[in-house]
C-alpha cells in the first residue's frame, strides 16, 4: 500500500527523530512510504485560534501534496483529527474527501489497517526495558477514539497499549488520572500560560509519582510541552514518541 507520510510542521523542524522513526516503522511493516516534499502545515494553529477562514492556503497545499496516496499517515493525533474534520478545498472536493477518509494517526493505522497486533510474526522486534507512562493525548483519544475514555460507561480498549504490549521489557505504569489533558492546547499554551503550565506540571507529577522513566504518547505537541516542564525541573525523565519506542532496539 502506498502511504504518504504527513509530518507535522513542528515535528519536521524540532523532532525530526520522531519523523525518522515513523518512516522506519512504516517501512518495517511493509508500506511503500513517500514524504511529499512540499508539505507544510495542516492549518490547525490558525483554526484553533479562531482563524479557520485563513487556512484555505494550507488546505490547498495539503490536498496538492497528499491526494495521490492510498493512505496518509501521521505521528500526530491532533493534526490527523484536524485534517479529518476540517480539510476542505472547494476546487478539489473529491481529493479532499479522499484524504479525509484515508488519513490515519500512526497507531490506529498500525492496529486497524496493518492489524499489527494480530500478526503471527512480530515484525517490530522492539525492545525498551523501561518504566513508561502513557500520556493519552486528547485529540487522539476523544477525537480519533484511539482508546476508551474514562468518562464513559463503556468497555475498555486501547490501540496504543496494544502496540506497547508488543515491546519487550516495557513496563507501563498506572497513572492516577489516566486521561487528563496535558495543557498544551495549541496557542492556549501561551495565551493561558499559567493554567497551561500548571496542567503540564500536574501531568508530569502524576507520571513521576508513579515511577515513569519515560513519558510517551501519540502527539509530539503534548510531549514537547511535558518535556519543557521536565527539563525546567531538571528531571532525568525523558519523553519519547510511540514511533521511537516501537522502533527501539537495545
Amino acid at each position: 500500500m502506498n502511504v504518504g507520510l504527513f509530518i507535522p510542521c513542528y515535528v519536521d523542524q524540532f523532532y525530526p527523530q520522531v519523523a525518522r522513526a515513523t518512516l522506519t516503522l512504516l517501512q518495517k511493516v511493509g508500506c511503500d512510504v513517500h514524504y511529499p516534499l512540499d508539505q507544510t502545515c495542516c492549518g490547525q494553529p490558525m483554526a484553533n485560534s479562531g482563524y479557520a477562514h485563513l487556512s484555505g492556503g494550507c488546505d490547498a497545499n495539503f490536498v496538492r501534496n497528499f491526494a495521490p496516496y492510498d493512505y496518509i499517515v501521521s505521528p500526530s493525533g491532533s493534526c490527523t483529527l484536524h485534517i479529518k474534520q476540517h480539510l476542505h478545498d472547494a476546487n478539489h472536493d473529491t481529493e479532499a474527501r479522499h484524504i479525509r477518509e484515508r488519513v490515519y494517526e500512526l497507531t490506529e493505522f498500525l492496529t486497524d489497517v496493518i492489524q499489527l497486533p494480530g500478526l503471527t510474526e512480530n515484525p517490530l522486534q522492539a525492545t525498551f526495558p523501561h518504566r513508561v507512562g502513557l500520556h493519552q493525548s486528547c485529540h487522539g483519544q476523544r477525537g480519533l477514539h484511539l482508546s476508551q475514555m474514562s468518562e464513559l460507561v463503556a468497555a475498555p480498549y486501547s490501540k496504543p497499549r496494544q502496540l506497547l504490549n508488543m515491546v519487550a521489557g516495557l513496563e507501563l505504569v498506572t497513572l492516577d488520572r489516566s486521561d487528563e489533558c496535558c495543557g498544551f492546547g495549541g496557542t492556549f499554551c501561551v495565551v493561558e500560560e499559567a493554567v497551561s503550565a500548571k496542567m503540564g506540571k500536574d501531568r508530569v507529577a502524576d507520571h513521576l509519582r508513579n515511577g515513569a522513566e519515560f513519558i510517551t504518547g501519540v502527539d509530539v505537541s503534548c510531549l514537547m510541552h511535558l518535556e519543557g516542564i521536565l527539563k525546567r525541573a531538571g528531571s532525568t525523565v525523558k519523553v519519547k514518541h510511540m514511533a521511537e519506542i516501537l522502533t527501539a532496539t537495545l
Binding site: 524540532f14 525530526p16 507544510t40 485563513l54 486528547c138 500560560e193 500548571k198 510541552h225
Partner: protein
C-alpha cells in the same frame, strides 16, 4: 461583584499564584468527578440514558413554541399565575412587583442560576427588598459579597477556615471554628429563622412539565421547600428552555441529574409543584434574556439543552485550575463559555479560548451537548466578528502566509532553529510566555525534510 476587570487569562494568572490552593481546588473538584464516575458506572444503560435525554431535549428545542403554550394553559388551570419576561430587567421588575404587591419587604431565595444571570439580588437590594439566599453555599458567598463560583457548589472555592471567618463575622460563631458540622448547624439555626418569618419565597425551576402544567425543584438541603411551604407567595423563575414534554421524561432526567452533578443517585428532595396551597399563590416567571437569540444560532442552540448539573465544570482541567470567578460570568466553566458569548460577545470573547478543546466536558454532559465543538465554533465567530486583538489577527495572517508556502515555511523553520541554536537568548527570555515555566525544545541542525532529501533513493 464586578470581576469584569480581568479577563480569563489574567484572572487565572492571579489564581495560580497560590499553587497549593490551586492544587486543593483542583483535587476537590476532581473528587466530585470521581464520585460521579462511581455513580454512573453502576448504571449499565448510562450511555443510552444520555442519548434519550439528548433526543428529548432536541425535540424540546424544535417544539418550544407549542410546548410553552400548552404548559402555560395547564399551569394557569392549576391556579399558577404565569408571567413572561423578555430580559433580565423585566424579570427583576416583575419579581419586585410581585413582592411589593404581597406587602412584603423581604425575600428568601433558593438556588437559581437564572437569578444570578439577571443580577436579581442586587436589583432587589437597591429597591429596598432584603434578600436572603437559603442554599448554604449561596448564603456563604452572599455574606462575603461574592458571586458563586460554581453552579451546584457555590462556595467550592472557599476553605472551611474562610467559611469560619465569615460565619464568625455574620453569625457570631466562635472565632477560629472550622468544623463543618458546627458551622452548618449555625447556618441551620439562622436560616430556620428566615424560613419561619418570610412571606415570599423564590425558587428556580429544574424542569417544567408541559403535560401537567407543573414544575420540579430539586434540592439536597430542603431549603426550597422550607422557604415556599412556609410562605404565602412562591415565585418560580424559569428559563424557557427548562420545559419538557411529559412526566415520564422525568424518569430519564432525574436519573441523570444528581449522578452527573455530585455522584448521588438523586437529590434529597425532588419536589413537584402543581397547585398553590389553598389561600396561597404561585407565580411562575418564564424568562428569555437572550435564549431565543441562542435558539436561532444553529451551531450553538444545543447549549440550551443544559440541565445545569455542572459535570462539565468538575471535569474541566482548566476550570479546576482557574476557578469560577475567572470566567467573570454567572455561569462558569465549559457550558458558561458557550452561553456567555451569546449574551455579550465583547465581554466574553476570551471564554471560548479558556480551553484546550480536550473534549472531556462533552463526554460527561448528560444531555450530550457538543460543548468542545461549540467552543471551537465560537472562536471562529468571535474572531470573524472582530473581537480578536489586532496583534493577534496580524500574527495569524502572517502565520497563514508563511505556512501555506512551502518555501516560506522552510525558511521560517531554518530561521527559527538557527535562532535557538545560535542566539537562544532571543527566545529564552521573559517576553516569551512559553519560556516562563518551560524550556524550549532542543533545536536540531537539520529538519526531517533536510535529512530525507539526502537519503539514497531505492
Amino acid at each position: 461583584m464586578n470581576q469584569l476587570a480581568l479577563d480569563h487569562p489574567d484572572a487565572s494568572t492571579v489564581f495560580n499564584k497560590d499553587e497549593a490552593r490551586v492544587d486543593w481546588h483542583d483535587e476537590t473538584l476532581w473528587f466530585v468527578r470521581t464520585k460521579r464516575d462511581r455513580a454512573v458506572q453502576q448504571i449499565p444503560e448510562w450511555e443510552q440514558l444520555r442519548e434519550a435525554a439528548s433526543q428529548i431535549k432536541n425535540h424540546v428545542l424544535s417544539n418550544l413554541h407549542d410546548l410553552l403554550i400548552d404548559f402555560e394553559a395547564r399551569a394557569i388551570a392549576n391556579g399558577i399565575t404565569v408571567h413572561w419576561a423578555t430580559d433580565a430587567a423585566e424579570h427583576n421588575a416583575l419579581i419586585h412587583r410581585i413582592i411589593t404587591e404581597a406587602g412584603a419587604t423581604q425575600l428568601v431565595k433558593s438556588k437559581s442560576m437564572l437569578t444570578e444571570e439577571c443580577h436579581l439580588n442586587e436589583y432587589l437590594t437597591q429597591n429596598g427588598i432584603d434578600v436572603i439566599d437559603s442554599d448554604l453555599g449561596e448564603r456563604i458567598v452572599q455574606m462575603r459579597g461574592e458571586p458563586p463560583s460554581h453552579i451546584v457548589l457555590p462556595a467550592i472555592h472557599l476553605k472551611k477556615s474562610d467559611v469560619g471567618d465569615t460565619f464568625h463575622k455574620h453569625l457570631g460563631t466562635e472565632k477560629g471554628a472550622t468544623d463543618p458540622q458546627y458551622l452548618t448547624e449555625a447556618a441551620r439555626q439562622h436560616l430556620r429563622e428566615t424560613f419561619l418569618s418570610r412571606k415570599v419565597a423564590l425558587t428556580g425551576v429544574n424542569f417544567a412539565i408541559a403535560e401537567t402544567g407543573g414544575f420540579v425543584v430539586c434540592t439536597n438541603e430542603g431549603n426550597a421547600d422550607m422557604g415556599v411551604h412556609l410562605a404565602d407567595v412562591h415565585i418560580a423563575s424559569m428559563g424557557f428552555e427548562k420545559i419538557i414534554p411529559r412526566t415520564e421524561h422525568l424518569g430519564v432526567f432525574l436519573r441523570l441529574l444528581a449522578r452527573s452533578a455530585t455522584g448521588q443517585p438523586i437529590t434529597t428532595f425532588s419536589s413537584h409543584f402543581h397547585k398553590p396551597q389553598p389561600g396561597k399563590q404561585i407565580h411562575l416567571v418564564i424568562v428569555d434574556n437572550g435564549r431565543s437569540r441562542q435558539l436561532g444560532r444553529p451551531d450553538f442552540r444545543n447549549s440550551l439543552k443544559c440541565i445545569r448539573c455542572a459535570a462539565c465544570l468538575n471535569t474541566c482541567p482548566v476550570y479546576r485550575r482557574s476557578g469560577g470567578h475567572s470566567y467573570h460570568s454567572a455561569i462558569a466553566g465549559p457550558i458558561g463559555s458557550i452561553l456567555a458569548p451569546n449574551l455579550d460577545m465583547r465581554q466574553n470573547a476570551d471564554l471560548p479560548f479558556a480551553s484546550t478543546l480536550c473534549g472531556s466536558c462533552s463526554n460527561v454532559c448528560p444531555v450530550k451537548i457538543d460543548i468542545h465543538e461549540q467552543l471551537y465554533k465560537w472562536r471562529q465567530v468571535l474572531m470573524q466578528e472582530g473581537y480578536g486583538p489586532t496583534a493577534k489577527t496580524v500574527a495569524m495572517r502572517t502565520m497563514a502566509t508563511v505556512l501555506e508556502s512551502p518555501r516560506l515555511y522552510r525558511l521560517a523553520g531554518r530561521v527559527g532553529r538557527g535562532t535557538l541554536r545560535f542566539a537562544p537568548v532571543l527566545a529564552e527570555n521573559s517576553l516569551n510566555p512559553w519560556y516562563q515555566q518551560r524550556e524550549m525544545p532542543a533545536p536540531p541542525a537539520q529538519s526531517f525534510r533536510d535529512w530525507y532529501i539526502n537519503q539514497p533513493k531505492p
